[in-house]
Amino acid sequence: MADAVALPAPMTRRVSGRLWIVPPTALLALLFFYPLALIARQAFLDDSGVANVAEFARVLHARFFLNALINTITISVAATAGCLIVGLVLGLILALVPFPGSGVIARLIDTFIALPTFLVTLAFTFLYGSAGMLNAGLMEMFSLQAPPVDFLYSTWGVILAEVTVYSPFVLRPLLAAFSLVDRSQIEAASVLGARPFRIVRQVILPAAVPALIAGGSLCLLLTVNEFGIVLFIGAKGVITLPLLIYSKAIQESAYQVACIIAVINIVLSLGLFSLYRFAAGRLGV
């Protein structure tokens, strides 16, 4: 009888090995999938709990939603383009121009990743706000009555803050890519008569394309979902999808509308994340 129930040792190990899937799955379900499912469910129920699919279509065609969607896409694309330009320029300088302290500078830029995003916005308020250092200085210097620099509380302010916060996400993979460029290729190109700009364009940048795509995709994903910067700047008329969700859920208690927008935001984010993973996987970064 004992022989009949005893499992061979490898089988026992296989079964006990499979059980390890339970704790992480349970944790994910509890913390991630269940709340997501609740949001998705709420998107199709009105605030009294009755099924209301028509509301989904109404929100999709509503002006406030379309404006927020356009704002979100405009800001994230512009901020990502800015991050790519700033990251690329900084990366080229830090990786290719020999100067003492370049490593320290690279690490300092890295620390932006560790800081909460609204801190940069707060700093921008001190610098470029109506009563910030720049405006105060200019007003005093030129005896002006009103602050002359007034971009912070606009789409441009949001984009500038996002570029500042998210450029390190492009810079880091770029620096890694530049460090892998074979120096002898650069030297060979130089001996063959290529000037620095041609070397950057034809030798270095092609090697950095995977890093640019991966870093850019990540920036796009993060800026689409950015909440703190947009809220903190409080630019008039600049409403993005995350801010709209907050506004509908917390300020207007319109939970179904908030959940519908959240579902669309999630689909957009997962789409971008899939694109990022695909690009990163294909390009080996």
Partner: protein, 382 residues
């Protein structure tokens, strides 16, 4: 154009004449290089004649690559000037020096096809499309790679990649070709073939000046018109390849450039002239060899190459020493013997052995001709 076979030494012959150009001389005028306080190249004065292959050889850290990189413009000399032809290039950036360079790891641009790699320098120099097309075709034909123009570097073997790197360097018609350990990444068989092909390339392009940096004495001996042996950032010796090999000016050169047996001897009679024969004593044996300016009683070294030692004497092999047989290593076409001669190990490379060799530990005579022997100062250091 048909695809030439990639074996043997017939691959670099098709259109070499079209690439032939006049090379320039290279002149190092007291060139030194230092990193901070660490001097890696002591003041170096050296000439490479137009059309000459100069091989710089030496152990790691001897300064040979630094000297090449100074010519290329990647290392700024701490002092001295470098001239290529009539141009002082010391302060010119690499892209204005008119050079070609081939390095150990090929340094091909991985995202470009072979033809674009070869065309890169011409495009950088603003050549027109027709000229680029012609030059790329000629350069690829010269290295036997015409059929591979549309491939990417990753689709080629190491040897093929190195041919493309050579074609890329030749396409710009360089004044001087710099080769920095170009064959070190290849396996032994391909390396031997490539040495033969580079030798043929230079026969086809006799005007091309080449500075060839290597740690491989066989490559240097096969290819170079002249050799500079580097040690500790200085030129230990410099001269025509055959001359350096036959009459090394110091112990380091004798040992680094081919294997040499160096027997400590005492000069009995100095040479009558710079190329005259001197006699020296090794124990009871009196030996003749090419001398320099030794005086009777001087302690010096008698240099004899392993392949010049014979196990049998005749009218020519008049020098005779006796050693104790220690080891015998058969290696196919050669047999290496190691004997002890007055406490100095002596190597013999023999193509043919007597029917019966003495037992290990037995005494054995060795014979050699005075003309294959030279006296080498013990304590000269470059």
């Amino acid at each position: 154009m048909s695809v030439p076979a990639l074996t043997g030494s017939n691959v670099m012959d098709v259109d070499a004449a079209k690439i032939r150009g006049a090379g320039s001389n290279v002149h190092f005028d007291k060139v030194s290089v230092a990193y901070g306080t660490h001097v890696v190249l002591h003041p170096l004065t050296l000439d490479i004649a137009p059309g000459e292959i100069l091989a710089m050889i030496g152990p790691s850290g001897s300064g040979k690559t630094t000297a090449l990189r100074a010519v290329a413009g990647f290392v700024k000399p701490a002092s001295g000037r470098i001239r290529i032809g009539a141009t002082d290039v010391t302060d010119l950036p690499p892209y204005e020096r008119g050079l070609g360079m081939v390095v150990q790891n090929y340094a091909l641009f991985p995202h470009m096809r072979v033809e674009d790699n070869v065309a890169f320098g011409l495009r950088a120099q603003g050549a027109d499309k027709t000229l680029i097309g012609e030059r790329v075709k000629d350069a690829l034909a010269t290295v036997g790679m015409s059929g591979f123009a549309g491939r990417y570097p990753r689709e080629l073997s190491g040897g093929q990649q190195q041919r493309v790197a050579i074609a890329r360097a030749l396409a710009v018609r360089p004044r001087v070709l710099l080769l920095d350990e170009p064959l070190s990444a290849l396996d032994a068989q391909i390396r031997r073939n490539m040495v033969e092909e580079i030798a043929k390339l230079h026969r086809d392009l006799p005007g091309l000046t080449i500075l060839y940096v290597t740690h491989d004495q066989t490559e240097a001996l096969t290819l170079a018109d002249k050799i500079a042996i580097m040690r500790d950032g200085r030129v230990s010796s410099h001269g025509p390849t055959g001359e350096l090999y036959r009459r090394p000016p110091n112990r380091f050169t004798a040992e680094f450039l081919g294997r040499a047996n160096l027997l400590p001897v005492t000069v009995a009679e100095g040479a009558a002239g710079p190329k005259g024969m001197a006699t020296a004593k090794l124990g009871d044996a009196v030996l003749a060899g090419a001398g320099r300016s030794e005086k009777p009683g001087d302690k010096t070294l008698l240099c004899i190459r392993p392949q010049h030692l014979s196990l049998t004497g005749d009218e020519e092999h008049t020098n005779r020493i006796v050693g104790t047989l220690k080891e015998v290593h058969w290696q196919g076409e050669l047999t290496h013997l190691v004997l002890d001669v007055d406490g100095t190990p002596v190597r013999v490379s023999a193509t043919r052995l007597p029917v019966s060799l003495p037992e290990r530990g037995s005494a054995m005579p060795l014979f050699f001709t005075p003309g294959d022997t030279s006296l080498v100062p013990e304590d000269v250091r470059g």
